[in-house]
């Protein structure tokens, strides 16, 4: 497959994630849209790594850096989700809502 199909697919998923972050007020759905954006970037990194491997066919390990970066992105995302859900639970315990408009009192 040409690389521009993968670029367009990843951009489409990323734009859907951006629309979700901008329009939804539910903190958990905003968080899931951020996960969707991370996965769009992961898909594009894997596609570029396979493209690089095909272009530099001589070296056997050319392009494996991209897939290892995807692995590290997954590691960081797992840590981020655990901390973020703890913050959402604490927010729900304090204000009994997960509407992120309640967070604008952080500016006072």
């Amino acid at each position: 497959m040409p690389i521009n199909y993968y670029i367009t697919l990843a951009l489409c998923l990323f734009a859907i994630g951006v629309v979700g972050v901008l329009t939804r007020r539910n903190a958990i759905i905003v968080f899931m849209c951020i996960e969707l954006m991370l996965n769009a970037v992961n898909l594009l990194l894997v596609a570029f790594s396979k493209m690089h491997h095909l272009a530099k066919g001589a070296a056997a390990t050319a392009g494996s850096d991209g897939q290892l970066f995807v692995f590290f992105i997954m590691v960081v995302a797992a840590a981020e989700v655990s901390v973020g859900l703890a913050i959402i639970v604490m927010m729900y315990r304090n204000v009994h809502s997960i509407n992120i408009n309640f967070l604008n009192r952080l500016k006072h």
Partner: protein, 166 residues
């Protein structure tokens, strides 16, 4: 159109449709289910590109661990009913327009790149297998790998401290 292209288009339609389901559904549980379907479709794309290790890790870590965590939080806080009270139509319209503009600008900017016709290797090549990725991970990337264990420890302590009842 051979079988690889057919599978590519099927997985693309599934991924985009379920991603739209995340954004549009009122019930958060349906959003979680849509995100799980999206993750499976992206894992299917990884398998098509012969990145088998990442496909399995994506299913285990994302669809298996992270989404179960989301479902636990939604069910513990009893949020499965529709709770969004704000019905600001203009905000939603403006957000959709802004996201579409971002998509259009990025596609237009990347439309005439030189690498546009470069092919992605499908189904062959062994850089995505566990053997070669593991060798790279434990030789070149061994220091970031060890640092990520410290990151996990700090995330674990942080979530316990934040979630603790004082």
């Amino acid at each position: 159109m051979n079988i690889t292209q057919l599978l590519f288009w099927i997985l693309t339609v599934i991924a985009i449709g379920s991603a739209l389901m995340i954004v549009t559904s009122k019930n958060p549980v349906y959003s979680v289910l849509g995100l799980i379907v999206t993750f499976f479709a992206i894992s299917g794309h990884y398998i098509l590109m012969n990145a088998q290790f990442l496909a399995i890790v994506n299913i285990i870590v994302y669809a298996g661990a992270i989404m179960v965590l989301f479902l636990f939080v939604i069910m513990l806080m009893n949020l499965s009913r529709a709770t969004e009270t704000l019905k600001n139509k203009w905000l939603q319209i403006v957000g959709a327009i802004a996201g579409s503009c971002l998509f259009l600008v990025l596609v237009a900017a990347l439309k005439n790149t030189e690498i546009k016709k470069n092919l992605v290797e499908m189904g062959t090549g062994d850089i995505g297998l566990v053997k070669s990725l593991g060798r790279e991970l434990f030789t070149t990337f061994v220091i970031p790998f060890e640092i990520s264990s410290v990151l996990f420890l700090s995330a674990m302590i942080g979530s316990v401290v934040i979630g603790k009842k004082e």
